[in-house]
Symmetry: C2
Subunit: 232 residues, 2 copies
């Protein structure tokens, strides 16, 4: 059965990159990159990631297995426009996806075919439409929200995500770009409930896969006392 | 060997309580309590917590073992003044600590002796002094920072915490009181590095114990390419 999944590397305080900045000559010189490099380093060190990106070496460890499985489970991708634009040149002729990618954008553009099964289809009719097109193309495998964080947050907000895997990296960054931000638009007595479906403890990162149950009211309880339940 | 430890229940987005508010007649009616109740519910349901608080029942499960171990490992506590004030009446004559508690406060007060080994000593000479007094009283067991979040964050900021156990509850709250906030005062190219020392996956909460390594610079890397290392 096709489900909608996503995975993201985050610091212990929930950042997938350092703070955005506009006063640096290049992205690499700014704090956004410094944070992003730190939280994704476990993946860069893994054989499965390097193999997909065309690099040699890397460790064949638990982290590498997690990455290999993640790539294999995805039959199609949905991606934000900024991520697609930013990757177009570095990914080159053989992008790591090896599956159809549907890019959510406001700018119409012809589908871009690449080697190895990757194609980029530009969808101007919104996130839900992109997910539906990806679902049709996924051939029974999963639709993976490839990112970035802004798109993924919107997918969560819209209640369209079935499974979220967080790679929790043991570092506190203090500031940066946050996936689970107040922009999720939750009410003050409302939470998005999840269920941990798989926890893998590697030495340098903890992989937790959650099933997303959706929005539920936050309720009070009697704190262990043998009384009638409190009313909210 | 005595180390300085802390543990806290947090939502997946890092909140230990809902947002602070001032316009509610009672704390229980506000969103702060709603979030706090949700993230601590796994503990309230556990036998070991109920037993310490003088309540009956509860589940004898993995969560209960984690709580029992946490209580047993602590030889003395350090606590913020607001938490101590708030607990004084509900904890009553038999508080759950059963060990000396050192309260960081600016208001001098005589030591308060309670049953079961608990005492409250009011320390007006600062956090480091309170930790030193707790260390001397801990009898070889650990000094546990009991909370609240503001005190714990200060202890992390000062580099005084050796071990942090987070009980990560699978709920997204969207807003609230955050332990790991920008008030940690980290530089834009600096992170606090940790090492996961123990991961326990329960159905309703993931317990991750981290050893705290301290502040380190964030550095760039070559993203898997076989080149000379990039300079920062």
């Amino acid at each position: 059965m096709t489900i909608v999944t996503a995975q993201m590397s985050v610091s212990l305080d929930g950042f997938y990159a350092g703070p955005k900045h506009t006063d640096m000559p290049t992205w690499l010189e700014g704090p956004e990159a410094a944070g992003f490099f730190r939280v994704t380093r476990w993946a860069i060190a893994a054989e499965a990631w390097r193999q997909r990106l065309g690099f040699t070496g890397g460790e064949e460890n638990t982290n590498s297995q997690v990455i290999a499985e993640t790539y294999q489970a995805a039959g199609a991708y949905v991606m934000g426009r900024r991520m697609a634009d930013g990757g177009e040149i570095p990914w080159g002729d053989d992008p790591p996806f090896r599956a159809p990618v549907f890019v959510v954008t406001s700018r119409p553009r012809e589908t871009l075919a690449r080697n190895g099964g990757t194609s980029f289809t530009y969808v101007t009719t919104g996130i839900e439409s992109a997910i539906e097109q990806a679902r049709a193309a996924a051939n029974g495998r999963n639709v993976a929200i490839a990112g970035g964080g802004t798109l993924l947050r919107q997918v969560i907000k819209l209640g369209l995500l079935d499974e979220l895997e967080l790679h929790i990296v043991p570092v506190i960054l203090g500031d940066g770009m946050r996936l689970l931000s107040s922009e999720l638009g939750l009410g003050s007595r409302e939470g998005i409930e999840l269920t941990p479906a798989r926890v893998i403890a590697a030495p340098d990162v903890t992989h937790i896969r959650y099933q997303v149950s959706g929005r539920h009211p936050l309720v009070l309880d009697n704190r262990g006392r043998d009384e009638e339940p409190a009313t909210t």
